[in-house]
């Protein structure tokens, strides 16, 4: 079953457009990472899916309904981000009670155990929590609500490393026990790489890649060897990134080599090294401007 469907969706503000004729579908039960540079529209995409904001044009369907003003979408989805706010008249334990009333799949026991594990005080007000603690508390609501569509937008903002690891572990365990559709965005792809099944890579308001994370990992390969040898093999290929270190060079190219070519590479002492999804993502989104090295190279030659 398709949970989210974007058909030619554009979202523009007065001065610029954030999502540019975007098409994609998210299937039920898949944990998808929404990845992209700052300001490419990850949050916009998530807020449209949750029905908080409206697309400028195109068709959006969540659970086969337009999510904007859909009670069904609101009741079956949750979006955890830093705009989650709660009245300061409510204590943290009050908020958990309210969440219990609103979300029919709410797991009160799990919520309480996570609440205790992360040492929250029941009488504290949400707005008095530190940034990291606020994120942790919101994440607990996101996990315990067990919504068929659970969306986390940068859920680990402000969390320290230990808590981040705990959160991702908790999310994975709960996802295994209660499979559901999850969208998760993060600036740190390397942190969530192993957690994801699919990846939705946004760049310049468009989908740059959407599919299993292993496909992204196998899309590119890194050739490492003597500069001359590597150059002979890469001159006719699209280069997604390169770095030179003395006589050796390292080049990112598409992972399209025949068996014969692979043998030749190994004979010439060129290593084929798999690329992490994070490196592939950086390579795919660096664009025509080149890498940070090019910025310095250009000034040197000017």
């Amino acid at each position: 079953m398709t949970v989210i469907k974007f058909n030619n969706v554009t979202k523009s503000y007065r001065t610029h457009s954030v999502l540019d004729h975007m098409d994609f579908t998210i299937e039920e039960g898949v944990l998808t990472g929404v990845i992209g540079r700052n300001g490419v529209g990850k949050s916009t995409l998530m807020k449209i899916s949750a029905g908080y904001i409206q697309a400028t044009s195109g068709e959006v369907q969540v659970f086969s309904e337009n999510p904007f003003n859909s009670l069904k979408v609101s009741a079956n989805s949750i979006l955890v981000d830093d705009t989650m706010s709660f009245s300061d008249k409510l204590s943290l334990s009050d908020i958990l009670k309210e969440a219990n009333r609103f979300y029919l799949n709410w797991d009160a026991q799990l919520a309480q155990r996570l609440f205790d594990y992360f040492s929250f005080h029941p009488d504290v007000r949400h707005k008095h929590l530190s940034k990291g603690k606020k994120s942790t508390f919101n994440a607990i609501i996101g996990i315990a609500s067990h919504c068929p569509l659970t969306i986390f937008d940068e859920p680990t903002t402000g969390m320290d490393t230990a808590v981040r690891k705990d959160f991702y572990r908790a999310l994975l365990k709960d996802y295994i026990a209660n499979p559901r559709t999850i969208l998760l965005s993060s600036h740190h792809l390397e942190e969530i790489e192993d957690l994801l099944e699919d990846i939705l890579l946004i760049h310049d308001g468009k989908i740059r890649f959407h599919g299993p994370i292993t496909d992204l990992q196998e899309m590119l390969v890194k050739l490492v060897g003597k500069k001359v040898n590597v150059l002979a093999h890469t001159s006719k290929r699209t280069i997604f990134g390169s770095q030179v270190n003395g006589a050796y060079s390292e080049v990112l190219v598409e992972n399209k080599f025949t068996a014969d070519e692979k043998i030749r590479l190994s004979e010439e002492g060129i290593k084929m090294i798999p690329v992490s999804a994070n490196d592939a993502y950086v390579a795919l989104t660096t664009g025509a401007k080149g890498g940070i090295d090019d910025v310095f190279n250009r000034t040197a030659t000017d």
Binding site: I176, D194, L195, I213, T214, I273
Partner: protein
């Protein structure tokens, strides 16, 4: 970025791990293998990715599936793996060894005696 340690993709690591368990007889023929969900929890990875590791071994007929029961080690799984590892891993290591020996001007006799010496040393160490 110059990371010379050629780390493998995670699902291939999973397949490797199960292979090693079969080779060292931790997993015996017709014994049930961890499910993709157990593997996911064990390695802290997505169940779908863990499933890809299992698929790799199913396709190589090292594992087999029983409907509704799970995945099991094929009776001849270990033999297949031994053959595969001999072919792939051992041969690669030998090629490397020969390349290195040539680079260091070590001739064949010298190399063989070095191998024997090393084997003896290891035997003593084990005793």
């Amino acid at each position: 970025m110059f990371d010379m340690d050629a780390s493998k993709l995670i699902y291939i690591q999973i397949a490797d791990w199960i292979e090693t368990e079969i080779i060292d007889r931790t997993l015996k023929p017709d014994e049930k293998v961890h499910s993709q969900y157990q593997l996911a929890e064990l390695f802290n990875i997505n169940p779908a990715t863990a499933g890809k590791g299992l698929t790799l071994l199913l396709e190589a007929k090292i594992l087999y599936k029983r409907r509704g029961l799970g995945t099991f080690v094929a009776p001849d799984g270990r033999e297949k793996l031994l053959a595969k590892r001999k072919e792939e891993t051992l041969r690669k290591l030998i090629t490397k060894l020969l390349d290195e020996a040539r680079l260091l001007d070590v001739d064949d006799n010298q190399l063989l005696s070095m191998i024997e010496a090393e084997r003896d040393r290891k035997k003593e160490g084990l005793l």
